[in-house]
Structure formats: C-alpha cells, structure tokens
C-alpha cells in the first residue's frame, strides 16, 4: 500500500494543494479578524455578539470556515486523483495497472484523505496560533484567554478536520457516480454549506460551543463516507473500461 501511495504522489504533484492550503490558512486568519472586529456591530447581549466576541466562539467559527474550505479542496483532489482516473479513456490506463484494483483505489483515497486531515488540522492550528499571538499585541476580543479554553478549541480543530475528510469523500461518491469533476466539487460545497450552517447555529444556541452535537454529526458523516467508499471500491472491482 505504501508503494501504491508513493506512486500516486509521483503521478500527481501535491505542491499545488500545499499552496492552496497555505492560502486557506491566510484566509481563515483574515476572516477570524474580520469577525472579531465586527462583533461590535451586533446588538449587545445577542447570541451573535456572544459568539463573535469570545475566544471559543471565534475558534469554533474559524474551524468551521477551515472545514468548509478543506472539504472543497479535498473534493477537488478526489476529482483529480480518482474521478478523472476512472473516466473516459483514462479508465483504460487506470484499470490496466497490474495491481489489485481495490488497493489502487484505496491508495488514492488514503493519500487525499490523509493530506486533507493533516492540512486541515495544521492550517486550523496555525491560524488559531497566529490569531492568538496577534491578540497578545493588538487585542480585539474583550476578556481573558484562559488555559481551560484550549481543550475545546483543539477538539474543534480535530472534529472539523475529520468532517472535512468525510465531506470530501461524500463529494467523491457523488462525483464518481456521475464520473464528473463538477459534480464532485458541487456536492462537497453543498455538504460543507449544510454542515457549516448546522455547526455555527448550534454554536450560537450553545452560547459559543456545541461540540458534542457536532461530534455526533461528524461521526455520522464519517460513517456515511466509509460506506460510500466501500461502494466505490466494489464498483471499481467490477468496472469495465468500455
């Protein structure tokens, strides 16, 4: 499997996706700042104001934005690494590889999902770290940053990164069904929009945090993604290069 993953890396350059991950990180920091600065424009005492003016609330929103961005990036990678490789003339090349078809597919999925998980987690942690460092110099959030806040922030990062992986895989399943790159990406955008809306609304209702419910949603999404990946694997095994 390691050798198959290495071959996937050789066939497809990851540098483009690394650059995009860096830009997402910059964008998330910028958006976190914008949200924190605009907290004052919300009615005092409202749920929105509470969410936008607390460290945990801002970290949650940043993780949600990061999840949405990496979900779409993951779908774009799945489209390139998998959907295109099993479509049209390229299917003859992919299916002619003298290696077990399920393993070849698994290598593609593991590479993209692993990249998404690590990039999303590192990007979220980096943007959080940059934001908190700037807070030490130019504070925009009123109130102290306390050590007990770190654990829910880190948990948010982990859950949202897993969600980015799962939603990317759901996009892959939709795109694979139609053998279409646009369908892969649009399905991921729709899934990310739904989950982002759910997560941010739950966070508001929870006065800044609703991790357990989001975690359950993430587990459901991961289970769905796992089932869909198994379906793709079964399809590839019996696929014809017509």
């Amino acid at each position: 499997m390691r050798e198959l993953i290495r071959l996937e890396q050789r066939k497809n350059t990851l540098s483009t996706y690394l650059k995009m991950s860096a830009w997402v990180t910059v964008g998330v920091v910028a958006m976190t700042w914008t949200i924190a600065l605009s907290a004052g424009s919300e009615p005092p005492g409202s749920e929105e104001a509470a969410l936008m003016s607390s460290y945990i609330g801002l970290a949650n929103l940043a993780a949600v934005i990061s999840m949405a961005a990496f979900c779409v990036l993951s779908a774009a990678m799945h489209a390139k690494f998998t959907v295109e490789e099993y479509s049209g003339n390229r299917a003859v090349l992919t299916l002619s590889c003298p290696a077990p078809r399920k393993k070849v597919l698994a290598a593609k999925v593991v590479l993209v999902s692993g990249f998404t998980l690590v990039a999303a987690a590192l990007s979220s942690l980096a943007s959080l770290a940059v934001f908190l460092l700037t807070e030490a110099v130019f504070p925009v959030v009123h109130g102290p940053l306390e050590p007990h806040m770190i654990i829910p922030m880190a948990a948010d990062v982990v859950v949202m990164s897993l969600l980015a992986v799962a939603l990317g895989l759901i996009g892959l399943a939709a795109g694979f069904l139609k053998r279409s790159t646009p369908v892969t990406i649009i399905a991921a955008i729709i899934a990310a929009a739904l989950l982002s809306s759910l997560a941010s609304n739950l966070a508001k209702g929870d006065g800044g945090h609703a991790l357990p419910i989001v975690a359950v949603t993430a587990i459901a999404a991961i289970a769905a993604a796992f089932a869909l990946t198994r379906w793709i694997s079964g399809t590839v095994e019996s696929m014809e290069a017509a």
Partner: protein, 245 residues
C-alpha cells in the same frame, strides 16, 4: 501447445444496449505468431482486445489468455501481456522515462529495461520532457514502449502504427518481426492498413459485425489470391454483405 489466446463462443453486449458488439465469436492465436486482426470500424476488434485484458467481461462464452481467465486472473494476465488499446493515455506531466518507471513499479519491477526500450522504439533523447508536449507519433512510440518494457509474453496492439511517419512505420514493422522471431513473443495486431498487416502477420483473422468470419494463414491467402491480402479482405467482406470502412 496451449493457444496464446482463445475466444470461444464469445458474446458481449454493453450495459444499456440491446445490440451485441460480439456474438458467437471464436478466435485462436497460436503461441509465437503474429496475428493480424482485420475488420471494418465498429466490427468489434477493440472490444475483443479489451476482453483479452480483462477490461471487459464477456456476456457469454469463454476467454483464455496464456491459459488464464482474464476475468478471474486479471492481474496475472496484465503482467504477462503488454497492450496498447485505442489512443494511448499517459501521466501527462511525467517524462517518457518516468511513465515507464511507474508502469514497472506497479508490477514490482525495477527500471533496468527502460533505456533499452526507449531506444528500441526510437525515443532515446526525450529526457525530462513531459509527455504532454509529445507529438502524436511520439505518443504512439511511447505507447509501444510501455507495452514492451516489462518483456511480456503476449502483445495486444490496437492500431499500433496510427500517427507514425514512414520511418516510424518501418521501424515498428521490423520491431514486431524481431519480437516475434527472435523474442518468441506472440503478437495480436489490429490495423486498417492492410499492406502493413500483410508484411508482418502469420495468421489473419477477419472480424465483421461482431464475429470472426475467417481465420487463415497468410501463406494460404497468398497462394489463393493473386491480389494478396487486400483482395482477400474485400472478397470476405463482400461475401458477408458487410459494408466496410
């Protein structure tokens, strides 16, 4: 001796199509020979080649390639065969050398044979040039190189001289004769260029409307048809009432 390829009573219909692309199709390729596969467009040549590679599953009948069942022993068949089906597709951003190295790595093989193979097909100096910049003829040569690089027992070539210049056609012709003659390789080659098939093939198979209508040694064709293979092909087509391309 076990035939290199044996198709017995094969039928193939694609999903969602009522029309069978192949029907009651029998074909036998002996080991070590060059089998020229002739037929009009849409007759089923490419479908038959894909069935031999396990890229398609027959609707009915039996396929044996080097004694193996391509549906159940797909990887073993792919390792023992080299193929160039339709327009060859590559990993475009990689060089010719890297494409062959990746192909070999999928089989767990090292890259020792890459340089020799690139020389053999007339692509010795492409360096790090990505395949996306290759001309049609260079891509065709690279497709042939990929089919050969792991030294397979059987070569399945679909229109191998498409896009080649006269020098390339001559080199390919000589290469195929060497591979079969000195290398003992079995070659199945489809082509619309009858004169080329006539210069290399030992046996001719003519397919029309999804069925092999004739399978004959080229020597017999030459003895019985003063106009050679072209005359024979058109006479077979006209007997079957088939419109040819």
């Amino acid at each position: 001796m076990t035939p290199a390829v044996s198709l017995t009573n094969i039928a193939k219909a694609y999903k969602g199509s009522h029309r069978a692309v192949l029907r009651s199709c029998d074909m036998t390729v002996r080991q070590g020979e060059i089998y020229g596969f002739l037929g009009p467009n849409g007759a089923g040549k490419t479908t038959a080649l894909k069935l031999m590679l396990g890229l398609l599953t027959p609707t009915a009948g039996s396929v044996r390639v080097l004694g193996l069942d391509p549906t159940r022993q797909r990887e073993a068949v792919l390792r023992a065969t080299g193929s160039m089906i339709e327009v060859p597709v590559f990993w475009e951003r990689l060089s010719a050398r890297a494409n062959l190295e990746v192909h070999l790595a999928y089989m767990g093989l090292g890259a020792e044979s890459v340089d020799d193979t690139l020389n053999l097909v007339g692509l010795p100096d492409t360096g790090s040039q990505p395949v996306s910049t290759f001309s049609l003829g260079m891509r065709q040569r690279l497709g042939l190189a990929r089919a050969l690089v792991h030294r397979p027992q059987l070569l399945l070539l679909d229109e191998p001289i498409n896009g080649l210049d006269p020098t390339g056609i001559k080199q390919t012709r000589q290469l195929l004769l060497d591979l079969a003659g000195r290398g003992g390789m079995t070659i199945v080659m489809s082509s619309h260029i009858i004169s080329e098939v006539e210069q290399v093939a030992d046996t001719i198979g003519v397919i029309a409307e999804g069925t092999i209508v004739r399978e004959v040694e080229l020597a017999t064709v030459r003895n019985e048809h003063s106009g050679g293979l072209e005359d024979y092909f058109f006479s077979v087509m006209s007997q079957g009432g088939v419109q040819h391309a």
